[in-house]
Symmetry: C2
Subunit: 240 residues, 2 copies
């Protein structure tokens, strides 16, 4: 854990009482003394610093001092729903790289049974995303939407102005793309790619096809590669 | 499979007889007719095109016509050995993104038992890397070296001229780094990072610390992110 996270509702005035796996982590891994400072943060709120007030075998009491509120990542990810095993692995990684919105979408090449997984249960998603935030030191929890009908979702959604579609054979590359200030959305297709009609709808909405490099990557590898490249570019142009 | 791969030693003149999982893939997934063309390639050799000469329930005979030989990736990866489960997942992804040399290294923060895994057996490594090549459509098999003593390895190895060390707190970013033409090597540390003495040796050898963006990523996420960024930059500057 690079940052201990808590919900605002867990704070009593400026104090935080921990008795769960976070207490265990503090007691067994961090092993602070009373008076030591820990890196903490409120989910969807400010980073904070916590002074250790009390340590006992089952509980930890911290005094929280709020610091800066981190800026949001400025990046949304529209991802064709991968198979459950892959999704489970990707969720913490996506939260660690950082996105504002995560749209998990149906597509013609997405198998219907992918939607039946426990990985899509809100509690499981929340836990997986927090795991990624705790790793990366961020507090911005991605807002997740599961999209079962892509065409109507695309039609009704107000996407940010920079709209990119990862496409292995696109002539322009994400690396070299000049990006305007402002927020971005990156769409990543299923194994086997989008169908022609899906591509046409994306392009009609101004999603520009961009390639990573001259390789065909598995969609989970492509997701991490493209998302981190987009995040690095966003940060470089001063968004994050 | 985006490309069917074979060893040079499997060719009899220009014909290839397949009876293993590749035959199964051709017969059950690709389902070509006699006379159809398939994307093939010789491991560490040229891309090729294969005409289907004969199909039977257990075997496939192809006639190979060599095409271009792909250029090598121009990139080496020096990776602190991750735990076996993570390594197993990373190997095909590293081959898919493409590296010339993969150095799997010991480091002070690498647990000794990581070296006892079957994942490091040459046969398993080969199979995992070929899986990545088959996905990406490449034929360049990474040359793998398992390094048990890092300091002496660093001392004796002639690394390429662009030497980068991924470091979360480095002030310069990999994205913005101007890279010279020629080959590159990227060093990625273990969970928890390199020790000071290790960092000092890398820096003494001209490895420049570069960051990805303002997040602390798990080392496998960081590996895919940094490697693909380096690959995209290498391709953009005309190496690949």
């Amino acid at each position: 854990m690079n940052r201990i996270l808590y919900k605002k509702s867990e704070l009593a005035h400026d104090q935080l009482l921990l008795t769960d796996h976070r207490a265990t982590h503090i007691l067994q891994v961090l092993k602070p003394a009373v008076g030591d400072k820990l890196r903490t943060g409120e989910i969807d709120g400010p980073w904070s610093e916590a002074e250790v007030l009390k340590l006992s075998p089952q509980k930890v009491i911290l005094k929280i001092v709020n610091l800066d509120t981190p800026s949001r990542p400025g990046l949304d990810l529209l991802l064709a729903l991968p198979r459950p095993k892959v999704l489970k692995r990707l969720l913490p990684q996506i939260a660690a790289i950082g996105v504002d919105h995560l749209y998990l979408c149906n597509a013609e090449r997405v198998e219907k049974y992918y939607f039946d997984t426990h990985v899509l249960e809100p509690g499981f998603i929340h836990k997986s995303l927090v795991e990624g935030l705790v790793q990366s030191g961020d507090t911005c929890l991605p807002k997740v939407e599961v999209v079962r009908h892509l065409p109507s979702f695309l039609e009704k959604t107000a996407f940010p102005e920079n709209r990119w579609l990862l496409h292995p054979s696109a002539s322009e590359s994400l690396l070299n793309k000049e990006i305007a200030a402002g927020r971005s959305v990156l769409a990543i297709g299923p194994e086997g790619g989008w169908r022609e009609a899906e591509l046409a709808q994306f392009e009609g909405l101004g999603f520009q096809p961009l390639s990573l490099f001259d390789r065909i990557l598995r969609s989970d590898t492509a997701c991490i590669a493209a998302l981190s490249l987009a995040a690095a570019k966003g940060e470089a142009c001063g968004r994050a």
